[in-house]
Amino acid sequence: MSEIEYEPLSLDVDRLGRETIDAHIEQVRRLVDEHLSEPYSIYVYRFFLNNWPNLTVMAKHKGRVIGCIISKVEPHKHARIRGYIGMLAVDNEYRGRGIAKELISQSVDSMIETYHCDEIILETEVVNKAALRLYENFGFLRVKRLFRYYLNKHDAFRLILPVTEKSSVRSTFLPPLENAPESKY
């Protein structure tokens, strides 16, 4: 099988053209709709993709999007910069090839290097052992258990990857952020 290519989503019409961008968004949406149980409206995609296009990383095989990770970065309680991994999906036939691992790695690096995150968080079901193993291999810690968080009545874990010292201080005891980045939309 030929190489898998990874690239962040771009909304640059001059560079990519409208058709390519639309196709990318459509393929990302298809992947997520197909593989994740939670239903997401177009607003959810627009919220993530238009505000932080570079934090949607796509894995492509022969030009087709076969995996993606969708993240965002926002201030948390005006005290720290928090990255959030919202969705991760890989087509069944491409699983077991380390694609999810690479997507997480690139997304996390981007959140740390470009956005200077203090921490990165996500939630995952307690029964989803594969996802837990995947994230925990990067150093994500279980900081909270969320009772019946998902529609299928399972509990979830909130996982955090601490990046700076701020992540281990209660926000009450942190000074307010200066020039906190805000989402565009």
């Binding site: 909304l11 019409v13 409208r18 961008i21 709709d33 239903p39 997401y40 409206s41 177009i42 607003y43 959810v44 627009r46 919220f47 238009n50 505000n51 691992k101 790695s105 996390v108 740390i112 921490e119 307690v126 029964v127 837990l132 925990e136 291999n137 990067f138 150093g139 810690l141 279980r142 900081v143 909270k144 258990r145 969320l146 009772f147 019946r148 968080y149 529609l151 009545k153 399972h154 509990d155 874990f157 955090i160 990857l161 601490p162 990046v163 700076t164 010292e165 992540s167 281990s168 201080v169 209660r170 009450t172 005891f173 989402s183 939309y185």
Partner: protein, 732 residues
């Protein structure tokens, strides 16, 4: 009505088609830009439903055909069994729209629309009305603000009024229905219908408990025979023949997703949810069993017993074979307990004498305040200062009283929140007591050391909460592997050491007050005249507290022994996990993008801001790890296996001796049976945890020379102590 039908109803001639104009205007919008009001963020739009998206638009649901004809008792029984399953699905966190309201008869009757047919009118309708009334009473609990919307219970009603039927009238209708069904020819369906009607009738009485006011500690158990009766019915229904029979009943097409489309719905389309008959019976059995356990609160005799009972209620769990499930008390009972215990007027159980403030003062008094000089001081400034502190303590105490009703995950968050409050009060309490020391001179015998009853109380509760936070982190599986679990047990042992020391201090305070009473009695003998009379008066007042002081001495000894056991168990576990570190099982994962220090700090984030006892720094932790001596210097990494095992065995024997001592102390406390029973059950699990540690140690020795990739470690929870999962080690 579907989209087509809705459109056909519109008189299209009254409207002007602006489609082309609309698209002409929108074509001017730059590609990729988002047009939205400045009033809100796009984030708010993420909660919106999307028209024409099949996963989000309920208008796209296809109407299902309903044939709700009920012509036989078999069919009536099926409807009732299925509706009971819908109720349980709702209690199990599904929305009403996919559960109870999916029943045609519920949809009709809640809107006071007619249902027809003799069997429906005489049997099914009373049952349905009973279900509506039951849901109505549970909804009232759900919106009372003591449990969490969606997390614990979904209270969205599709704008329907569930209180449409009068409770008492419904009970009468249910009784009438029972009578009518009993008059029918005998059959298995007949008995099933009767039992289901009676079960719903009994369920209607559960929520009435919040209307009852009782005096705390007067040991007046309420006559609530309906709960016993309900449990008898449930046992009968759970008999294999009945369950098997229920599985053969003919279905009736009266459950559908139609309501999601026709009524006011804020949720995306979802499949219908209902529990199987056996699961429904389990759910209701748990409801009534937990309800009965809750009522034990009426039998406690003082604040110590109440405090113990509330802790027991809070940590009550149902063992489940699913390792990913943690089951606390039934959601209805959790909400009920809160509303039953603390009333709107802040009274406890509706008592005229006991409220949150008086209960707090009683607990405080028993722990460290009784017969203190601050208690008898008439100094205005001191009394004012004390009052201010009590006002600050109350929210922390209230937090505890409300945490008992939370689900297991929320309980930890409540404890976490409480920690900050106790920590800030401790600083203030210490400042106040150090400043007032000059006036009071309340010191230990032959010592200049001030007793500081307020700070002692605050510090005691803070230390217990610190340990509780770690205990709950273990229970909730927040420590995922050997490295993290080792950290957890290591810090736990560390914190319990402070708690054990402080309990010794509380015992010292208790003994000081007892000694002061004896000294006062001797002083009376020597005194004369007015002074003698005054001293006698003081003695008589203080003497009344003697039985309480003696009981508290016993209680502190019990607590001391309990926490010593936990400390030793935590130490042993940490030691065994450290041994596994030699196999590389405590190494960080290869892809880890965080340093061990940041992980350490995040893991113990809750303790970072605590002043005393201060969290050991990461450097302290690493220093400890470098030392080759473990378990209070008795064990070293180089020691041979049999020596290591011998040391651990010795520790284990000490734990067993303490467990025996704890059992004796529990017996001596003469708690009510429901407390004693639970404490003894706890000691059994502690014994098991002790033995399990030795076993893990032996397993660890067997794989000592294997690399990490060849060793499998599993944490087993089923039938083990909540805070000591079995650590199973084996070669892969």
């Amino acid at each position: 009505m579907d989209v087509e039908q809705q459109l056909s109803r519109l008189n299209i001639r009254d409207y002007e088609d602006i489609t082309s104009e609309f698209f002409a205007i929108t074509s001017a919008i730059e590609y990729g830009s988002i047009v939205k009001s400045q009033q809100f963020k796009l984030l708010e739009g993420t909660h919106a439903l999307e028209v024409l998206n099949p996963k989000l638009d309920t208008a796209l649901l296809k109407p299902e055909i309903s044939h709700p004809a009920v012509e036989t008792l078999d069919q009536a029984a099926w409807v009732m069994v299925r509706l009971l399953g819908s109720v349980c699905a709702w209690l199990d966190n599904n929305s009403l729209s996919v559960s109870v309201l999916s029943c045609y008869f519920v949809e009709q009757l809640i809107q006071r629309k007619p249902v027809t047919g003799e069997l429906v009118e005489r049997c099914v309708a009373p049952f349905v009305k009973g279900v509506i009334s039951f849901v109505s009473s549970v909804l009232k609990l759900g919106v009372a603000g003591v449990i969490y919307e969606e997390e614990d219970l979904n209270t969205q009603t599709m704008d329907l009024d569930f209180s449409v039927y009068d409770g008492e009238q419904t009970v009468l209708e249910l009784q009438k229905a029972v009578k009518w069904v009993r008059s029918q020819p005998e059959s298995t369906s007949q008995q099933l219908c009767v039992d289901l009607l009676l079960l719903i009738e009994h369920s209607l009485h559960i929520c009435e408990i919040t209307q009852i006011c009782v005096e705390l500690y007067e040991n007046r158990p309420q006559s609530l025979s309906f709960a016993d009766s309900a449990l008898e019915i449930l046992a009968r229904l759970a008999e294999p023949e009945t369950v098997a029979f229920a599985g053969t009943l003919p279905t009736v097409a009266c459950f559908s997703a139609n309501v999601q489309k026709t009524l006011n719905n804020r949720s995306p389309p979802k499949p219908l949810a209902h529990s199987s008959f056996p699961s429904s019976l389990e759910n209701f059995t748990k409801l009534f069993t937990d309800f009965q356990f809750m009522l034990n609160v009426l039998s406690v005799r003082d604040s110590v017993e109440l405090y113990e009972f509330l802790n027991i209620f809070m940590t009550r769990r149902q063992f489940t074979t699913d390792p990913d499930e943690i089951l606390g008390n039934h959601v209805v009972v959790r909400a009920l307990m809160q509303l039953f215990l603390i009333r709107d007027d802040r009274s406890i159980l509706g008592s005229r004498r006991w409220n949150i403030s008086t209960l707090l003062m009683d607990v405080f008094s028993k722990i460290s305040f009784q017969n203190s000089k601050l208690q008898s001081s008439t100094d205005e400034e001191l009394r004012g200062g004390l009052e201010k502190l009590i006002i600050q303590i109350e929210p922390a105490f209230y937090n505890f009283l409300t945490s008992i009703s939370q689900n297991p995950s929320r309980q930890r968050q409540f404890v976490n929140k409480e920690l900050i409050i106790w920590d800030s009060i401790q600083v203030e309490a210490e400042n106040f007591e150090l400043e007032s020391h000059a006036k009071l001179q309340d010191t230990f015998a032959n010592s200049e050391l001030p007793v500081m009853p307020v700070s002692s109380f605050v510090y005691y509760l803070k230390l217990t909460k610190m340990a509780e936070l770690l205990f709950k982190s273990i229970e909730l599986c927040l420590f995922k592997d050997c490295r993290e679990l080792h950290l957890g047990y290591w810090l736990l042992a560390n914190q319990l050491d402070y708690l054990v020391q402080h309990l010794k201090r509380l015992l010292d305070i208790n003994q000081l007050r007892q000694a002061q009473l004896t000294a006062l009695s001797k002083k009376i003998k020597k005194a004369k005249g007015d002074k003698k009379a005054k001293l006698r008066e003081e003695y008589e007042t203080k003497k009344q507290s003697l039985p309480q002081l003696l009981k508290m001495e016993l209680y502190f000894n019990m607590q001391l022994t309990k926490y010593q056991i936990h400390k030793s168990l935590a130490e042993n576990r940490a030691t065994v996990l450290r041994m596994l570190g030699k196999n590389g099982l405590m190494d960080l994962p290869k892809l880890c993008k965080a340093s061990e220090e940041t992980l350490y700090n995040l893991q113990f984030k809750s303790f970072q801001s605590i002043g005393v006892p201060q969290l050991p720094s990461f450097r302290d932790y690493k220093e400890m790890m470098k030392q080759q001596k473990w378990l209070a210097s008795q064990l070293s990494a180089e020691a041979n296996a049999s020596y290591q095992k011998g040391v651990l065995k010795q520790k284990s024997d000490e734990i067993n001796a303490n467990i025996r001592r704890l059992e004796a102390l529990v017996a001596e406390m003469q708690f009510p049976e429901f407390i004693t029973e639970r404490l003894i059950q706890e000691t059994k699990l502690l014994k098991k945890a002790n033995v399990a540690t030795l076993l893990t140690f032996s397993q660890a020795l067997k794989v000592a020379d294997l690399p990490r990739s060849h060793v499998a470690v599993e944490f087993e929870k089923y039938d083990h102590h909540l805070y000591y999962p079995n650590i199973k080690v084996a070669a892969k």
